[in-house]
Assembly symmetry: C3
Homo-oligomer: 318 residues x 3
């Protein structure tokens, strides 16, 4: 029986690496052989030093403004408008599309796919799976925001289903959402009293390895880890918690950064720094949430790569 020709993809470290089947032949031993074109350079990214993050943040923002990547969002009904406006303000091109009959076509044009389970229903989860599998096959980076995971079983089950069937590059949520996604037999299971980002660090690193993805846990200080490398981001402003969908918008921002930066860890960390700096800039001229949410959109538009490099605050390690 001949080896089935076609392409495939590896799932590795939370990203996916598509590979072409180069050729197939019958060996001298009479067995079918297949030659794969595997050119895995993920270790190049993995070795990127954390010291480079401010410069990388500036490069990523400049690239978004230059490339205007299409970011395909299947997101919740509450934040669609604000998320789209944030993506436009930063220089990306948002598209919202959730019909199961068009998501594969739409995601094939996209530089990144954002999946967000707020206000989900079962049919939206099916669309997310369909889009996510297509993006995985294409090597398009995917970010998942498990809004409300841990609160209802529909949300927890749906987030786990997406994680198991889709090559999620970054998982962004608050500490309780992220930790609700541990396996039933998780080694982190014993850590039962997790309070906030700081306490969650060790559990997060273990979980990143378990889920084979990069975690972005947001809070007063954000934490990003792929299990090997951990970075904290100390930007942001308390008013961000008084505007609906700032977490979801942080997720979409990471989506735009993933479209221009192949390393999920630096994409997530630099995106959160950018979003946090925008919050700080907004708070300079707005003291209440209505004005603040508008000034935040303004700041996403006006912040230059140089501003970002100057203002971002990364803290390495544990």
């Amino acid at each position: 029986m001949p080896f089935p020709h076609g392409n495939g993809s590896f799932f590795l470290g939370g990203g996916s690496i598509p590979f072409p089947v180069h050729s197939a032949y019958t060996g001298t031993d009479g067995q079918q052989k297949v030659v794969l074109n595997l050119n895995i350079n993920i270790n190049i990214n993995r070795s990127r030093t954390m010291e480079n993050l401010p410069a990388q943040a500036a490069r990523n923002l400049a690239e978004i403004r230059k490339q205007k990547p299409l970011v395909h969002n299947i997101t919740n009904l509450v934040v669609m408008n604000y998320t789209a406006n944030a993506l436009l303000a930063m220089g990306a091109s948002p598209v919202m599309a959730h019909a199961i009959s068009e998501v594969e076509e739409m995601v094939s044009f996209a530089g990144a796919l954002v999946l967000n389970i707020g206000t989900l229903t079962e049919d939206w989860v099916e669309s997310m799976l369909t889009a996510g599998k297509k993006a995985t096959a294409l090597g398009t980076p995917i970010i998942l925001d498990p809004v409300g995971s841990g609160a209802t079983s529909l949300r927890t089950v749906s987030a786990k289903k997406i994680l198991s069937q889709v090559g999620v590059g970054v998982l962004r949520g608050n500490a309780s959402e992220i930790l609700s996604l541990r396996h039933a037999d998780s080694r982190t299971k014993g850590v039962d009293s997790i309070h906030g980002v700081e306490d969650a660090a060790q559990a997060a690193e273990t979980l990143a390895v378990e889920l084979a993805t990069t975690l972005a846990i947001t809070g007063p200080v954000d934490l990003v880890t792929d299990g090997e490398r951990t970075v904290r981001i100390a930007n942001g402003h308390p008013l961000m918690a008084s505007v609906t969908g700032t977490g979801c918008t942080a997720t979409a921002t990471i989506g735009a950064f993933l479209a221009v930066d192949p390393d999920p860890l630096s994409a997530a960390a630099t995106a959160l720094a950018y979003f946090g700096v925008a919050g700080e800039v907004a708070a300079e001229t707005a003291a209440a949430p209505g004005s603040f949410m508008i000034k935040l959109l303004d700041a996403l538009y006006t912040i230059t790569p140089e501003d970002l490099q100057h203002c971002c605050r990364f803290v390495n390690g544990q």
Copy 2:
């Protein structure tokens, strides 16, 4: 046959009173007896004097900021974002969830349930009924906004269905929406030419008794009645009518107040005063609807309980 053990609840005056079954036994007459722990103190609320409303308004706002009650909204697609931002700005915690498979779980965490039939479809009505029945059983206060009732039969029928199956504590709408919900054989049926809040007062009091709920009819002057007690609220600003979803947001605000105030009448009246004062504050620095809607969110955040007590304008009786 032994009396079935378990808990139950009474529907009374538009609210519901859960009660535990204390014990069951066979009486000397050979019949099954049940001892209920009924401790109905609703008359305490009913006797609350209207003079207390400004102080109650301040207490309610302070309690919302302290308790940050979770308000579960099943609401329309137009106002989801604005409503969520308003709830956050005032100090409450909004959640939007409409999947029929999760609404019972979600509402069980909530301090109040907001049902709003704008942009409804049949499946959303089913979710509202499911969530509403669960909230009723739990004694969680429920507010219904019958957006567009009277305009299409889907809306009128859906609103009536919810009212008949769910223990709605407050019904908030404009005069024509509310009066469209009179029974076919209503004693108020003769009142065919109702124009605005003032003309609707008598019809409203009769209807509140018929529907066994508290009515909050908004307009230039708002009217709240439970059939026995009637109060008018003279706060607000004409620009509120130029922003979409201010009615729906008033409804969500009452939802937050219901989570901290067990008397539907004072919860509704104080919430409308607070929302109206916010409109007045917003209009001090905004003369057109875009700026106004943003300043309104700001005002919901910045108004203190003392401000509210000072600025609210209640008018008692007919």
Copy 3:
């Protein structure tokens, strides 16, 4: 067999003309005859000179503020809130309703119907067809925004389906969306490299005739044509492209103008001038997209008919 009595409608020039069947009888030749009350005065509109457009713009805006026409929108999830606020700000009365069981009833109250296929799913398309057919039968003007047509086949097919089954008065999109709707055997098919509004002019005029509708193609300079008459509108501001849903909101604005102006060409051209002037006014006090989108709503509210007549910039012909 008697001729079936009843009413019908003609589709002509992109609008529809309902006509009553006056009477039916058997002629002296033994054949069934039908007498129609046809009173077609569309040529009166057709002969309107382009020189009148600034004055017509002012009249249309004044009429919207006076009549407050109900504009029924079946639109996408991203722009519902902003579109509703824009319609309210300009003086119209928006309603969003998409349940297939209520759209016929709702559209029967409306002065115009806005169909927008962004974030569409199959069931929403069915609702659009149902509402659109009812509006066609009633002679209510219809505007279609084929968001994303050409990008996915669901969108292209849906837009073509609506165009073929509904009497669309105006079709508003960007150049690539509009040109994706050419028939497979279109005479304009040869024009394969269309870049922007200017290059699209000739193709647009041919397409307007093919589709028997008025096209409104927006870009840095907008172009409106019914195939016979072509006008360009040179208002607007680049920041409009940095706010999500400005195209959709332009569409809704045309919807409001169609409710007060029976000529689709002048309704579309004057609406786009008004929306563009609002963008110019907004840009006077806002330099970034968050503030800009709020000031744009303010400008829709504050611009007077006289302002509009003074500031609009129409350019006739090719």
